[in-house]
Symmetry: C2
Subunit: 357 residues, 2 copies
């Protein structure tokens, strides 16, 4: 976990209260967890189980499924039995779906304050969740802000206000297994909302940017938004939203956490952008190394560098590295030069060093 606070200048993380979603701790100094959401039809329990099992392999730690109708709510019972990670039911509009999801054994609920407005209905859900010690995420979304909300306030203030009303309702029922999210498409609005909420309550925060788009743009928007918040010490669990297969969300989630030294997860590849100094066929070489490293589980830092300018420095700083020159590569292990090999043998020799670690 993050022990780079003083060494790397990462500001201190916000101290949040800890909740537990089945076996996964969220907040209170627990590792920032990575979650995703299925995009199968939840009513098709087997397809949903299959997708969740694939996501488990990629390291997904909490999974959420949409529950649009009672048939989907019933399928949760089967899904829960087929998977290992905690299951969260995503509920909109109809509180009866939340009651059914709880009865079917889900580990968490996500409710949207924008669309279940009657206190009496929410109360029924909260009392059953309390009875079963199931946490509830108050999952506010700028796209579905309550209409009664004061339109003269800024969007972020309205989001915080709407979420806090729900927090107060849950607290009035003596329920405090609360997690909060405040997602918008606009990144500064999202950051602002989380900062304001972080200053108001100590509940753990689920951080994400909503509707952020296809991988090319969504990866950037999510990384900027989630990354900035995590840098500022805000965020206890994250979900990257992408218009893509959810496995891409899990991979991206870990990359964000790795970039801030908040989690380790498999190898980290350091590779240069190539330039007019590169004298080997570099991009295909890096792609091949990248593909081979995908099967390595140990958190190693592997540097593949195209020239002699920054090459030796970065390669020496990595667990295993290569600095390429004209048609050859110098292999490094833990800062020591191991050997010089011709270009055709770079991949094999580098991977041999990786295997040795």
């Amino acid at each position: 976990m993050d022990n780079n606070e003083s060494r790397n200048g990462l500001p201190r993380r916000r101290v949040s209260r800890q909740i537990q979603i089945a076996g996964v701790k969220v907040g209170g100094g627990a590792p920032v967890s990575v979650q995703s959401m299925t995009n199968t039809d939840t009513r098709d329990a087997q397809a949903t189980i299959n997708q969740i099992k694939e996501l488990e392999e990629y390291g997904c730690e909490i999974i959420r499924v949409a529950v649009p109708d009672m048939q989907a709510a019933q399928a949760l019972k089967i899904i829960k039995k087929g998977i290992k990670i905690p299951l969260i039911a995503d509920i909109h509009f109809d509180h009866r779906l939340a009651l059914a999801a709880l009865a079917n054994g889900v580990d968490g609920l996500r409710l949207n304050p924008g669309n279940i407005r009657e206190a009496e209905k929410i109360k029924q859900v909260v009392l059953l969740a309390k009875d079963r010690s199931v946490p509830i995420r108050i999952g506010l979304n700028a796209g579905s802000l309550p209409k009664t909300n004061n339109p003269r306030l800024s969007v972020s203030t309205r989001m915080v206000k709407a979420a806090l009303e729900q927090v107060e309702l849950l607290e009035s029922l003596d329920f405090n297994l609360i997690k909060i999210s405040l997602k918008a498409f606009d990144v500064p609005t999202t950051i602002d909302a989380y900062k304001k909420m972080a200053a108001r309550v100590d509940y753990p925060l689920h951080v994400g940017i909503t509707e952020s788009g296809t991988p090319r743009t969504g990866l950037v928007r999510s990384s900027v938004g989630i990354g900035t918040l995590l840098y500022l010490g805000i965020g206890d669990t994250i979900r990257v939203s992408l218009t893509a297969h959810p496995r891409e969300e899990v991979v991206a989630g870990y990359e964000i956490l790795k970039s801030l030294n908040l989690r380790e997860h498999g190898p980290t590849l350091v590779s240069c952008p190539t330039c007019g100094r590169t004298e080997v066929n570099f991009i295909p070489m890096v792609d091949e190394i990248c593909a081979r490293l995908a099967k390595v589980e140990k958190p190693l830092k592997v540097a593949v560098m195209g020239c002699a300018v920054n090459g030796p420095g970065e390669a020496m700083d990595a667990d295993v590295g290569v600095a390429c020159g004209k048609g050859k590569g110098v292999i490094f292990r833990k800062g020591e030069q191991v050997k010089v090999v011709p270009e055709a043998e770079i991949i094999r020799e580098l991977m041999a060093e990786v295997e040795r670690m």
Copy 2:
């Protein structure tokens, strides 16, 4: 430009001194510019010109080329004539290459304090640059920190110290057309170095994360690092380093700036991650819309949403939007519902609305 400071809570930008690289203003409140670096062999002037012309089409505003030898330095004269955007020569080790680059008409120099250490040689370069009013970037890289530097200090402090020594040398020659970069692979180290430097001098800062890797991981690392710095108000020009074709760097650069409302650049697509509530064939539809929007130059916000939960809210907030339901889509324009169309006609009707804008 950024007019969201109060509305969206983006902190005030650092006030920097302005320099000008040919026609492009950097710092002093100028728009944050997007730059890239060629990966052709600079000695092949035509190949380099062709790549730069492609990058110009993607919106690249400043281009840098590696100058590894005298033949490359001579090619700069031809390259300069074949392109529109400012040309920067990237020089390491040999100050004579910098002198030749200046003589051949480059608009900027990048020097690495880690590898041209003799003050007398740097002085020759600086005096010629001063004579021609050509700015110099002091481009420090954690992978090539001077070895004489005190190893007991943190990496970010050593980076700042090494760059400041170079700044002082340039200032002692009455040269102040200075830009500074402090890149590391480690994101918190990079952020820390820029924050420290921002507090010490008012020169414009060129921001980037070095050796950040292939698009999948490099996009995340660059977005987290550059995005966090820009959010904190630091950064006057940016370069995303990716082990990929440089056009990907330009596209990513604009996406980072757009995500923080610092620049507009073509359409912005809002699209949901899909879930068990989606009742149309969504991902291929979004991919197709994304491809068609690539040809639109106007900065429009286009929302493509899969269901009725956040769909209408996001679609109404966009310039043009669609909220999908079961086998159909509701088209919105500027917050007004325009029509309901069957699934097969969504793309055509949405693009027709985009054309109308």
